[in-house]
């Protein structure tokens, strides 16, 4: 067998296998009588290793055989493939956050009472992980429920100096009349608009879309 041909078969097999292959396994790809000698295989592997010099992958011999792998040097880019994509927050989460900001310190039960529906533990967990809220105490009633309040991180995320910079409740109730320049220079808003087409499949797309509509509506005199 032509050595180029052998090399190609070995390369194709190693890359298609998805796991390391031993010399025996590589030999077994060939029919009886056509099987390459060990030295032929080894020199094909050697050549493949050298060919990788300028490439993004390398050929490694590990305990269970030979395998191609992405070079370590490119890991910072390649590993972004597995970054968890941002999903939109649900309306329930945003409502919970808003109530925690305006009615803090507040328990989950009180939020549920106002919203009329249960607040899932996941929502609270997400808000805690994001460090937008924290437990500031416990209400001394049976079960000692946690009291939540917002954090400095929350203020920073929304470009606020103090909670007082949030619009008063009366304005919220008439949000349509809310001055548009309040939101004009929020950098995040642009990000969301730019990113919108990518979340087309997202379950919460509707919410976003309706928020967008409202916003656009506000902007149109």
């Amino acid at each position: 067998m032509n050595s180029q041909h052998l090399k190609n078969i070995v390369e194709a097999a190693l890359l298609a296998a998805g796991h390391p292959l031993t010399l025996e396994q590589l030999t077994a790809l060939f029919a009886e009588g056509e099987q390459p000698a060990r030295e032929e295989l080894r020199s094909a592997l050697d050549e493949l290793r050298q060919d990788c010099g300028q490439r993004g992958i390398e050929l490694k011999e590990v305990s269970s055989g030979y395998r191609f792998q992405a070079k370590e040097a490119f890991a910072p880019w390649v590993s972004r493939l597995w970054d968890e994509r941002p999903t939109r927050y649900s309306r329930a989460l945003l409502e919970t956050l808003a109530l925690m900001a305006y009615r803090q310190p507040i328990t989950r039960a009180e939020i549920e009472d106002i919203r009329g529906v249960a607040v899932s533990s996941n929502i609270v967990k997400t808000l805690l992980e994001r460090e937008w809220i924290r437990v500031v105490g416990h209400r001394e009633v049976p079960g000692r429920p946690a009291l939540y309040g917002t954090t400095r991180q929350f203020l920073d995320s929304f470009n606020l100096k103090t909670l007082n910079d949030l619009p008063p409740l009366a304005e919220i109730r008439n949000l349509d009349e809310l001055s548009k320049d309040l939101f004009e220079d929020l950098p995040e808003a642009e990000f969301i608009i730019a990113g919108l087409p990518d979340v087309a499949e997202d379950a919460t797309h509707d919410t976003v879309a309706s928020a967008m509509t409202t916003e656009q509506h506000n902007h149109t005199p």
Binding site: L15, E140, F183
Partner: protein, 294 residues
């Protein structure tokens, strides 16, 4: 795969045998009628006996009546646009007879086609009424030809698709191990506007129930309430005065005082004064030995 091939070959020879009996193609006659379980079956022209096994193979080989008709037409090198209906019908009926003897439930579709063929044949036999212009009534074969052609193109398309390079059969995805690296979780961006819109909704809903009429204190007070709660504990007494920051000025002191009063009203804190004009202490109500979870 080889099994399927040989069974197809069996049917080819078996079909050729039938053809020999009906169309008289002499070169086919010395072939065995069919191979069943490796044994050659001799053709018995008297009653056209087909072993049950062979018939099943036959039924599997043809994808229905249109496929069988196409086979009959192709085998005789006939133009699909010019089918000798009488002859094809006769051959088709031979197959139907064979099927009927064995597996009637499998051949319903074939019988419908037989009826269609007989109908075409009968319409062709009828003398054309004088005065009816050519083509006005249409060739009775037209519908059959249309269906045959339609079926044939998708039969061909199916074969074409099967010859496309297929993942896992002809081409294999190339893959290397993913590098070990930290996976980052990207948090979604939220605008303040979204949060406020959410609040507006929830207030609108709550307003519908009168007992939920939500009155909100100035936000600075609510914020201060959180901060005070966070700075005191159940284990120790905090001196009242330490909660105030003089640098904040009169306004700040008022906010703190309102926050403390609100906290007391909501029984979130207790104010304790052990002696007249003595220091006032602030404490989270409840047992002293309980740890504040946080």
């Amino acid at each position: 795969m080889s099994g399927r091939l040989s069974s197809t070959a069996n049917v080819e020879s078996q079909v050729a045998g039938i053809a020999a009996s009906t169309v008289e193609t002499p070169q086919q006659q010395e072939l065995p009628f069919a191979m069943v379980n490796g044994e050659a079956m001799a053709l018995q022209p008297q009653d056209l006996y087909i072993p049950p096994d062979a018939l099943e193979v036959f039924l599997e080989t043809f994808e229905g009546p249109l496929d069988l008709l196409l086979y009959l037409i192709k085998r005789q090198n006939l133009d699909i646009l010019n089918i000798p209906i009488a002859e094809i019908t006769r051959q088709y009926m031979v197959y139907i007879e064979l099927m009927k003897t064995l597996r009637l439930e499998l051949v319903a579709e074939y019988l419908v086609m037989a009826a269609m063929l007989v109908e075409i044949k009968s319409r062709m036999l009828l003398p054309r009424p004088a005065g009816v212009a050519e083509g006005e009534e249409g060739d009775p074969r037209a519908e059959l030809v249309r269906r045959l052609q339609e079926y044939e193109r998708y039969k061909k398309a199916a074969l074409d698709i099967d010859t496309l390079p297929q993942m896992g059969r002809d081409v294999f995805p190339a893959q290397v191990d993913k590098p070990d690296a930290q996976v980052f979780k990207i948090a979604p961006a939220v605008t303040l506007h979204e949060v406020l819109l959410a609040l507006k909704d929830v207030l609108a809903r709550a307003d519908m129930f009168s007992h939920h009429h939500i009155q909100l204190e100035p936000l600075s007070v609510r914020e201060r309430m959180s901060n005070i709660l966070n700075s005191i504990s159940a284990e120790k007494f905090t001196e009242f005065t330490t909660l105030f920051t003089i640098e904040e000025g009169r306004r700040g002191v008022v906010v703190t005082l309102l926050a403390i009063l609100e906290l007391v009203k909501e029984t979130l804190i207790e104010l304790i004064q052990t002696e007249l004009f003595g220091p006032i202490y602030v404490k989270v109500p409840g047992h002293v030995n309980e740890l504040a979870a946080s």
